[in-house]
């Protein structure tokens, strides 16, 4: 459990302005070798390093980040956390993540503003309400909170939706998970970095991996822009560039890099008190603590590394916002950005060993990387430490597609190229 931050430490520094705050995480020079190397200083990479040190007692760990920590998707998402997952391997994994979120600020001694405000998914047809029922029933059968709301109950909870006749898609009801919510995303990267640093993990920024070293089929280390670093345990956690890095070890993966846009409006006084998502088209929105409406929808639909989206898709997502919540038409867009996501054929991730000994893969997170951060770090640390899958992430094996064990949570089929 990291320490050092509290109201008392704040008062102490307020009274003694001359004494500066300590550095949040140390910035050592890279050593020539480590027990374990994690490539990627995002949420998953830093969490993995933290749990390697905390749960598996590894002392000599390095996180190599090509830019600055948190510069990837952990700093560029719509901050939603939930565990409304229906398929076998997913349900337990994402519920574990949500449980870890509940205590994370306390454990990292870094307030991630974990807000359990509840998520409400709006259904637009009787058949869709049946599919929500199946999802909600599975959640309840696995001890996860879920309830179905009919139209009247929904109207009391979310009065600002468009219940009128002029709506293109009628509102039938909703699935509600009260424990879901949002988290201040940057705090997650900094929190894990600080906690890992306090456990002796070396966080090396501006250190891009340019090659993965192998002796026949065993990994021996990496080439970086700051010199060669040896290790017989290398974990890849570079969502968005997963194929790019895996190719350095000769691996060709079931991953395509796509841009996913997200938007924020100007801050206004609190109006939306839940995470709201929609069944007509993929759309999700919540109001940040600063007051801006943070929302997003589908990927643009073609592979790209440019981290910027096309206008037609930005317009489409905002059309969803106004169709579901008419007041959004008066909100003013403050900023539109694009993040780089790994899309996989069945929409589920990989946390697993690879055909190369000592090389481990964590990627393929599609839309759901941020909410998985704690459990992903927890299980990937187990895999890297013990060279085996953790029971919670056993379903996320690289060879599941060869075996026909697709984990198609959304039920849209092998859709990376069909969008």
């Amino acid at each position: 459990m990291a320490r050092g931050y509290s109201i008392f430490s704040i008062l102490k520094h307020a009274l003694r302005p001359k004494q500066p705050w300590p550095e949040a995480w140390a910035k050592p020079e890279p050593k020539s070798s480590y027990d374990a190397i994690v490539i990627g200083g995002g949420g998953h990479g830093l969490a993995t390093a933290y749990y390697l040190a905390k749960n598996h007692g590894l002392k000599n760990i390095a996180v190599l980040e090509k830019g600055h920590i948190g510069s990837g998707n952990v700093g560029r998402n719509t901050t939603i956390i939930r565990s409304n997952y229906m398929l076998g391997a997913n349900t337990a994994f994402f519920e574990k993540s949500l449980k870890m979120w509940e205590g994370l600020s306390h454990e990292l001694d870094f307030n991630c503003m974990v807000s359990h405000r509840g998520q409400i998914t709006v259904g637009i047809s009787p058949t869709q309400m049946d599919s929500f029922a199946r999802r909600g029933n599975i959640m309840r059968l696995n001890g996860i909170d879920a309830e179905l709301l009919d139209r009247q109950e929904l109207e009391k909870e979310l009065p600002y939706l468009d219940y009128s006749k002029s709506a293109r898609y009628p509102i039938w009801g909703a699935l509600h998970q009260p424990r879901a919510g949002t988290v201040r995303h940057d705090a997650v990267a900094w929190g894990y970095a600080r906690a890992a640093s306090q456990l002796g993990v070396h966080i090396i920024e501006n250190c891009e991996v340019t090659g993965i070293l192998k002796a026949d089929n065993t990994v021996t280390g990496v080439e970086t822009t700051r010199g060669r670093i040896l290790s017989d345990k290398v974990g890849i956690a570079v969502a968005g560039h997963t194929s790019h890095v895996a190719k350095m070890a000769g691996l060709r993966l079931p991953v395509e890099s796509h841009v996913l846009q997200a938007f924020v409006t100007e801050p206004v006084k609190p109006m939306v008190h839940h995470v709201v998502s929609w069944g007509a088209e993929l759309f999700y929105l919540s109001q940040s603590d600063k007051g801006g409406m943070v929302f997003g929808g589908h990927i643009d639909g073609f592979n790209t590394y440019t981290q910027r989206g096309q206008f037609f898709k930005a317009k489409e997502v905002m059309e969803c916002a106004v169709a579901l919540m008419p007041f959004m038409s008066r909100m003013r867009l403050l900023r539109a950005w694009g993040g780089l996501v790994d899309m996989t054929p069945d929409g589920s991730p990989f946390i697993c060993t690879t055909p190369i000994d000592g090389l481990y893969l964590n990627g393929g997170w599609c839309y759901q990387g941020f909410k998985a951060t704690p459990a992903s770090g927890f299980t990937f640390a187990h895999t890297m430490a013990k060279n085996e899958a953790h029971h919670l992430s056993a379903g996320f094996a690289l060879d599941r597609l060869m075996k026909g064990k697709e984990l198609d949570e959304h039920g849209v089929g092998n859709w990376t190229y069909k969008q």
Binding site: H241, S243, H244, R252, L253, P254, V255, E256, S257, G301, F302, N303, T304, Y305, T306, Q310, F312, K313, E316, P345, L401, M402, N414, T416, Y417, Q419
Partner: protein, 69 residues
């Protein structure tokens, strides 16, 4: 939505009907080169003439490099 639809990597050789075993089809259907740079790909003009065509694009900048081979 956009008038066009992306159809994936055009350089992947589709095994002939009845040809190629599990490994070859897994390679074709499930794995991607996913390069950060020039990429030859299929696109369809779905809202127009329904024609599928090849296009070369640099995935690092989205610059169109011309029609596919």
């Amino acid at each position: 939505m956009s008038e066009f639809r992306y159809g994936g990597d055009a350089t992947k050789k589709r095994p002939g009907p009845g040809a190629g075993g599990l490994k070859v089809w897994h390679e074709y259907v499930f794995t991607f080169d996913n390069p950060k740079g020039p990429h030859e790909e299929f696109w369809q003009h779905t809202l127009g003439c329904r024609q599928w065509f090849k296009l070369k694009r640099n995935t690092a900048t989205n610059e169109i490099l011309g029609g596919g081979a």
